[in-house]
Amino acid sequence: MTENNMNPLSTEMLYPVQNGIGNMVRTLFPESAFIINSLISICSLFLLVSLLPVFLIWLERKVAARFQARLGPMRVGYHGLLQSSADGLKLIFKEILKPEGADTFVFFLAPILPASATFLVMAILPFDHHLQVADPAGGVIYVIGISGLSILGILLAGWASNNKYSLLGAMRSGAQMISFEISLTLVMLLIVMLTGTASLREIVLSQQGTVADWWIFKLPGLGLIAFLMYMVSSTAELNRAPFDISEAESELTGGFATEYSGISFAMFFFAEFVNMFVSAGIAATFFLGGFLAPQIGVAFIDPLFAVIPGFVWFFLKTFFVIFLYMWFRWTFPRLRVDQLMYLEWKMLLPANLLLLMSGGFFMAMGGIL
């Protein structure tokens, strides 16, 4: 790994200021550090989790409108920026209907699970060098484990709704997520294997250097293939088109969310979009150098890029991946449920195993990395 050239305006320049504020707080409230630290991080995460979907829904609608030769929301706020806030408000004030014969407890528990799962994963995303709520050593395993929670929510929703469409959607979704999680895990495993660490921050730091050191461009061709694999499996994991068979509005009307209304529907909807952000964030972390500034080897551009704070790069890369997800959604038709299973078990899984083996081969060869 090459050392990142120090430049006069890097994030490290701000440490004295940060430390100054920190010291002041520590002197004034000697015992408060523990509480304040966690309080600030939790509050900012809450803020992020609740504001992100509002923006992402607006973005999705605008991107869709662009693809479809129309304008999208234009009335509420500048270019419709407040449209999704207005929609969210509407959903909050709407009556929550519960179908007859539904399991009340499970019916209302279900939307909470995906929402909380996304919140938990957000906690370990490395937004910047030191902007990360927690960095557990087994971060990758944590991500994989927690993302299983959202599928639980969908399964429960389908089961508790007392509706055949919901049940069909939930069962489809269950089968789909369990299968694609394997591919997703294998792609992550490849990177974990190559970097030798499961901490998300360490994975980002392993890509220091120029753009060519990002995992997507490393391992001649294989990195790119791994990235594409990740995109396919994560799209399926997110239940987004062309893999949105669990919602499939033209077949199952609303899939697992058919019977949901008001805020409980909004929670599914919001979780879906935060999930998309998390998934894109992980793609950026694993393959696109996370918060690292892209160094393309041109003398007068590199320092300029390095001045821009890391979290800006992180968000830029994440939104690039999100744009890819949206591009898929507004271009492709939907796969059928058996074709989806065929794709996973007979095509993606063997390909992933092969990828893992070739990754191991490159590791054994050493120097190429």
Partner: protein, 391 residues
Amino acid sequence: MNLEPVNNFNPDEGGIPEGFSRTSSATKSSEEYFLNMGPQHPSTHGVLRLVLRLDGESVLGVVPHLGYVHRGLEKVAENQTYLQNIHLTDRLDYLSSHINNLGYCMAMEQALDIGIPERGEYIRVMICELQRIQSHLLWWGVSGMDLGAITTFLYGFKERELITDIFEELCGARLTMNFFRPGGSFADVTDGFIPRIKQVIEIMHKALDEYNTLLTGNIIFQERTKNIGILSKETALSYGCSGAVLRASGVSYDVRKNDPYSIYDRFEFDVPIGSIGDCFDRYCLKIEEMAQSVRILEQAVQTFPEGPYRSQQKAVYKLPKGSYYSQVETARGLLGTYIVAEGGPKPYRVKFRSPSFSNLNILNELAVGHKLADIVTILATLDFVVPDLDR
């Protein structure tokens, strides 16, 4: 969760839903259930209700239930004058209302022996072909949406809008036109008519390429439609299918070619036919039909004559006693109009033979053995309009 096995299915007073027999082809170990699809369902295109017998995702049987938009148009027609009835035909298959008007007017012209001036015939052919393209564009967009590609819906509507604008300029209406009259049409075309059609021709050439890039060539789309809902030649003929559904199964029958009406025999166009009759064949056929309609328009624009647009105008038409039949090729297939007259200003009986009704009958034949998602594909390519089913 309340999934009752077939034996205990008790929607009203015991028994299983209407149209199904108690025994089924599924094995004992499977758990069958019935699913009600519609009348409020996104992909039944209106208020069609299907009752499905499913085993998991596999379809064991389909029974369509009609009648949710039955308006008794044929009965209404008995109580109105012949001229007033033209607007009723708009409401059969609202996507080809011009062509429906034409079928009804042709039956009247046959009864009264009315001739149509040259310009009137040209106007009819051009408008009917525009209508066919317009209807197919809507079908293309909607069937893409049924398969999950929502963008196609808006692409289809983008081009459709141009044609709808032409109609709006002609007769003020965008959907239910009521434009043709016995002996021609109720008004002459505007000055902008021909330039606008030329514009449509130009755009359609590009648009069809775009559609093929966006949807036809897509691997997921082909996987979803190929070998789904295969309709054999014999089945198609025995059920009385017509239009693209029949032609996709390899039967070359188009009323415009086989029983030419108006001045269709003067134009050069092909009748595309399919090979195996699956959903993909039906889809490709409709795309090709749009290209052929553009071809007819190109020829008509070249030789569009001057002169009167209507041969005669009357406030009340009285058809002589007898029965009259005419048939036209709508965007969906063969529309037959049968009028029984008793000499008065009102018909004794009017009967429409609608293409959607005959085409929907084969649904069960096509759907059994496929997955739930394939029902949506099959419905999309059968391309029916619900008011045309019920009348």
